[in-house]
Amino acid sequence: MADVTGVLDLRRSPLADTAFGVTSPGLSLDELPFRSLVEVRSPEPPTAPGLVWRLGPAWWLVDDSPTTEPALEVPLADEVRAANPGCPVVDVSAQRTTIVVTGEHATRLLAHGCAIDLTVLPVGEAVQGDLAGAQVVIGRTADELRIYVRPAFARHLAAWLTDAALPYT
């Protein structure tokens, strides 16, 4: 393939051309574009790099750093396939984009549009549900909430979050 990085540079993340982004002491919102994401069906937690979120019984989402080589499927998919023989794996890297929410108001912000009790969501665990009319995966890391949302809904969610964030910024 001719110009690898050139091809990677051709990608547009769903929120790339929007004014999305909130930065304030108590709350910040940002898109984390181009993450390598794969869904794995496996009774046990799959062997995989990066974050591994449980989406449901025998259903996992792996979140790893962006790919560096353009391909129909991110390399992470084959990597996870090899490490978890017999487990169906699907590349969903472009099926969801990632919004990172940090700050003391992060959990409360989402409570304006999500009826799930996120205050008790432990670090390392995720929930699937609805946020502001969009189906999302919400995972909690040590210092942030990660929202995985479909690109088609990303701009709606970004606009909604920006509006809801007003009182906290």
Binding site: R11, H112, C114, A152, A164
Partner: protein, 913 residues
């Protein structure tokens, strides 16, 4: 401030004067005042008029029990962060007793009916969900005790109170009193989350409470346990002319003194049915009101109370009753004289207290049952709703406890005195002043044969006003019981329904307004096509057509579509097909599942190939169609219509999980993973080969209904040779983040061939000429694959597929079912209208009913031959080709000839270019 006392007023801040406007006139108040206290302080007693009678009305109560003082807010003077520009135009029917004043507050007095302003509502509303282990509703002593008791590590307790301060009735007592001391102690121990000015308006079962904070924020509270400490509301009494300004609830009158430093009357008669009224009388006297007389419906009075009144030299009349009142001659009609069974007195205040009603509404919402208690003389919680049992408890005055506050406000001793047995004119005894309903109306209802309180409510409209009977409701029940000669408990109350207090539509809409009211979905190509007029397809925005600079005005769409169609038929066009649903199926048994959900055979599909399929519901009616590509032995990629992507995805899961879990299949939605650009037209092959030099696009190497992996403009892609236009066509699928780049590349590579972007309308024309139906447009849930002429896609070999059995029913076999056919205007010119009904040619359109034989499902002004054409569902249509019918739109007939559904390239010669 004529009636403002020099000192006192626990809720007002005399250092912060506030100016408000009432009917255009300025009124001075203090921060912390309610509109009602400000009006009383300004000696403005006339706050409304009877909705029908026009009789002058004044403030009756001090809180949500108010039934007269409803005003139209012109501007609530509220401005806060986050863009809330305040109320602006009128908010109808706001209770003056719960409306806190603010600079700029402007109100208008009304007569029981508000109005809607056309001003834009600039207020910001939002919703917040709070989860907790214990929700305590009501911040009086009982609620505070419950909250403090529940506080523990890991236990989230949420205390909600509708007032500006905690403490409830105790907050109105001297700090040194026993209750005052306990309140101080409890507030000291309180550590849980507290929401004031937040009224719980509904208890919706399963631990869900809905509350409103200052009219702006809707709280959803999800609680493992609910403690209802909602207190009680003072009950009025009724008599002739009981509705004059100056006639108030006794405890409310006293509260105006303690909370707002307002003296509601110079000279008062107090009529009570329980000790609270006497305590109130003493408070009023202490504040400077001259007590002309105290009447108690009971035959005896507690010595210490009698002593206290005697010490003040107040005449006390036991077993006495008010018989009527006189009002002033001026427009206020304010109280000037009180007539009683013990004599008459001049007075500007008649303070009555008929007992109190435990606030059981929230207990009742989810289905809790109440019972009448003679001891309390009110309806008290009895059986909680089965769903709430164990989850919910009621404490304090709301539970009918008669001594929540030690030694304070014991309830009346039975029997409750509802009203004088021999009143004067029943048409002047108002049992619901808000609705102008009288004792006369109650008696008419009874005489009409009605005995159910629900019937009487509807007959008289009692309790249907803005106060929903919070003030007079239970009183009405008592009076009705007396009329019917039945026990109060047997008559019972009407059903309490949410909301406890009115909720504005805007509040309930919350943030879901304008563009946020329903998510807008856009493809990852959207920015490249956003200049086109958009068609709303469900939540999606799809380009409808692409007008050029000179395609404007009414004819713009026709011109653009004609140009786009011509481009695809003779050259090449491109469209964003990303919104089509895409579902990845993996596993050894995918073929088996597809054989069951599609009407045709799929398990035989070879890797590298694509097949079109039709899906039916169990009833045999078409629910979706699309192509499925076999990516590998164990992976298949299904496409669905844009609108049905979610329902097909769900249906596949349902069949797999609930009927055939033994199948080795996993199902994943990948709709958003892929951006798809369709390149269609005889020249499409040149465009694709320019974009993908390594891909052999010859008809031999890359046949129709096959797919290939390729690098397109440097982008890794999956290219499919499928066609929804009948022309040679390629659909290029790339990971969606390359969607915009792919669009640019195709546009650039296609330039030499004049590649033309086209939208949904052109796509519809192209497919319609080929007789390809659109599910949901050419079908309506009553159409089988056979009706569509797709018997070729219905397997006879397969033992079963979903819908097969239904297709075997007599009705599905009728030869006269509605078939998909084509139509052309006989005159070759006139455009056919979608939705037109088909009738016999020349049918008399004035002799109704006119027999209808079908309807037009799709119609377009021009096809490849420059003539209008249409698709239609027609009774027995396949046997009527060539027949002339009238297509009737708005009773105007158009002669049309029935054709086959395929009007272009019936032999399918063009798909290979």
């Amino acid at each position: 401030m004529a009636r403002r006392l020099p000192t006192g007023g626990s809720r007002i801040d005399r250092s912060r004067p506030v100016t408000i406007t009432v009917d255009g006139e300025t009124v001075e108040a203090y921060a912390g005042d309610t509109l009602a206290s400000a009006l009383l302080a300004a000696d403005r007693l006339l706050v409304s008029r009877g909705i029908y009678s026009g009789r002058p009305r004044g403030v009756i109560g001090v809180g949500v029990e108010e039934s007269n003082a409803y005003v139209q807010v012109l501007d609530d003077g509220h401005v806060d962060r986050g863009g809330d520009q305040g109320g602006g135009g009128g908010e109808p029917m706001v209770a003056a007793t719960t409306l806190e004043v603010a600079d700029g507050l402007a109100v208008e007095r009304i007569a029981g009916r508000g109005w809607l302003s056309t001003d834009v509502d600039h207020r910001r509303y939002d919703t917040l969900t709070t989860h907790c282990e214990v929700a305590v509703v009501g911040g009086g002593l009982a609620g505070l005790r419950a909250a403090v008791a529940a506080q523990a590590p890991g236990v989230r307790v949420l205390l909600l109170d509708d007032g500006p301060v905690l403490g409830g009735a105790a907050a109105d007592l001297p700090a040194g009193s026993p209750a005052g001391l306990e309140l101080e102690a409890l507030l000291g121990e309180l550590t849980c989350e507290v929401l004031v000015r937040t009224t719980v308006t509904g208890s919706h079962g399963h631990g869900r409470l809905v509350a409103v904070e200052r009219g702006r924020r809707l709280h959803h509270v999800q609680a493992a346990r609910i403690v209802l400490a909602t207190g009680a509301q003072e009950r009025p009494m009724v008599f002739e002319d009981d509705d004059r300004p100056g006639i108030m609830l006794a405890c409310a009158a006293a509260d105006y003194v303690s909370r707002y430093g307002v003296l509601p009357g110079e000279r008062a008669v107090v009529w009570t049915a329980h000790d609270a009224g006497i305590h109130a009388a003493l408070e009023l006297a202490a504040a400077g009101t001259e007590l002309a007389a105290v009447l108690d419906v009971r035959g005896s009075m507690a010595p210490e109370l009698a002593g206290a009144l005697d010490a003040l030299g107040v005449p006390v009349h036991l077993g006495a009753e008010v018989t009527g009142t006189d009002g002033s001659d001026d427009e206020t009609g304010r109280l000037v004289r009180v007539h009683t069974s013990a004599g008459s007195w001049d007075a500007d205040l008649l303070a009555v207290s008929g007992g109190s009603n435990p606030a059981v509404q929230l207990f009742s919402h989810p289905g809790g049952r109440t019972r009448w208690s003679d001891e309390v003389a009110g309806f008290v919680p009895d059986t909680p709703a089965p769903g709430q049992a164990g989850r919910e408890s009621v404490v304090g005055a709301a539970a009918g406890e008669t001594a929540t506050i030690p030694g304070w406000r014991e309830q009346l001793t039975p029997p409750a005195a509802w009203f004088r047995s021999s009143v004067g004119d029943p048409e002047r005894v108002f049992v619901d002043p808000h609705r102008d309903a009288t004792l006369h109306d109650l008696r008419r209802a009874h005489a009409a044969g009605l005995s159910s309180v629900e019937h009487v409510k509807r007959f008289t409209t009692v309790g249907t006003g803005a106060d929903q009977g919070r003030g007079f409701g239970v009183l009405t029940v008592g009076i009705l019981a007396q009329e019917l000669g039945r026990p109060v408990g047997e008559v019972g109350t009407t059903t309490y329904r949410p909301p406890y207090l009115p909720l504005s539509f805007g509040l309930l809409a919350g943030r879901n307004r304008g563009v946020l009211s329903d998510p807008v979905r856009v493809s990852q190509v959207h920015d490249r096509v956003a200049h086109a007029p958009m068609e709303n397809v469900g939540q999606w925005k799809r380009p409808w057509f692409f007008p050029t600079a000179d395609e404007t005005g009414p004819g713009a769409m026709d011109a653009a579509v004609a140009r786009e169609v011509a481009a695809v038929r003779t050259g090449v066009g491109m469209m964003d097909a990303s919104t089509l649903g895409k579902i990845l199926l993996q596993g050894a048994d995918v073929g088996v599942l597809l054989d069951r959900v599609y009407t045709n055979l799929f398990s035989t599909l070879k890797v590298g190939k694509v097949r079109y399929g039709v899906m039916c519901g169990p009833d045999g009616m078409v629910i979706d169609d699309g192509t499925t590509a076999r990516l590998s032995e164990t992976a298949w990629l299904m496409s669905t219509t844009t609108g049905n992507a979610a329902s097909v995805y769900d249906a596949l899961e349902e069949w797999h999980q609930t009927e055939w879990p033994e199948l080795d299949v996993t199902i994943t939605s990948v709709t958003d993973q892929w951006s798809v650009v369709a390149v269609a037209g005889p020249s499409s092959r040149f465009v694709i080969s320019a974009l993908a030099p390594d891909l052999d696009v010859s008809a031999e190497a890359f046949a129709f209904m096959e797919w290939r992996e390729a690098v397109v403009a440097g982008i890794p892609a999956r290219v499919m040779r499928v066609s929804f236009s009948g022309e040679l066509a390629f659909e290029v699928n790339v990971p969606s983040w390359w969607g915009a780049a792919l669009w640019d590349a195709v546009a650039e590579a296609g330039e030499p061939w004049g590649i033309t972007p086209y939208g949904t309308e052109t796509m519809h024309v192209l497919r319609a000429e080929k007789g390809f139906p659109i599910v949901g447009q050419d079908t309506d849930g009553t159409v089988t694959p056979h009706d569509l002429g797709m018997s070729w896609a219905v397997s006879r070999k397969k033992p079963d597929f979903i819908g097969k059995r239904s297709l075997a029913r007599d009705d599905a076999q009728r030869p006269d079912r509605r078939h998909l056919v084509g139509l052309v205007p006989v005159d070759g010119r006139t455009r056919i209208v979608e939705g037109a009904q088909l009738v016999a040619h020349g049918a008399d359109l004035t002799a109704f009913p006119v027999a209808m034989a079908g309807h037009v499902t799709s119609a377009y002004p021009v096809g490849h031959d420059g003539q209008p054409f249409a698709l239609a569902l027609l009774d027995g249509g396949r046997d009527r080709l060539g027949e002339v019918l009238d297509a009737v739109d708005d009773l105007v007939p158009l002669a049309v000839r029935v054709t086959g559904p395929v009007s272009y390239d019936p032999e399918g010669a063009r798909r290979d270019g």
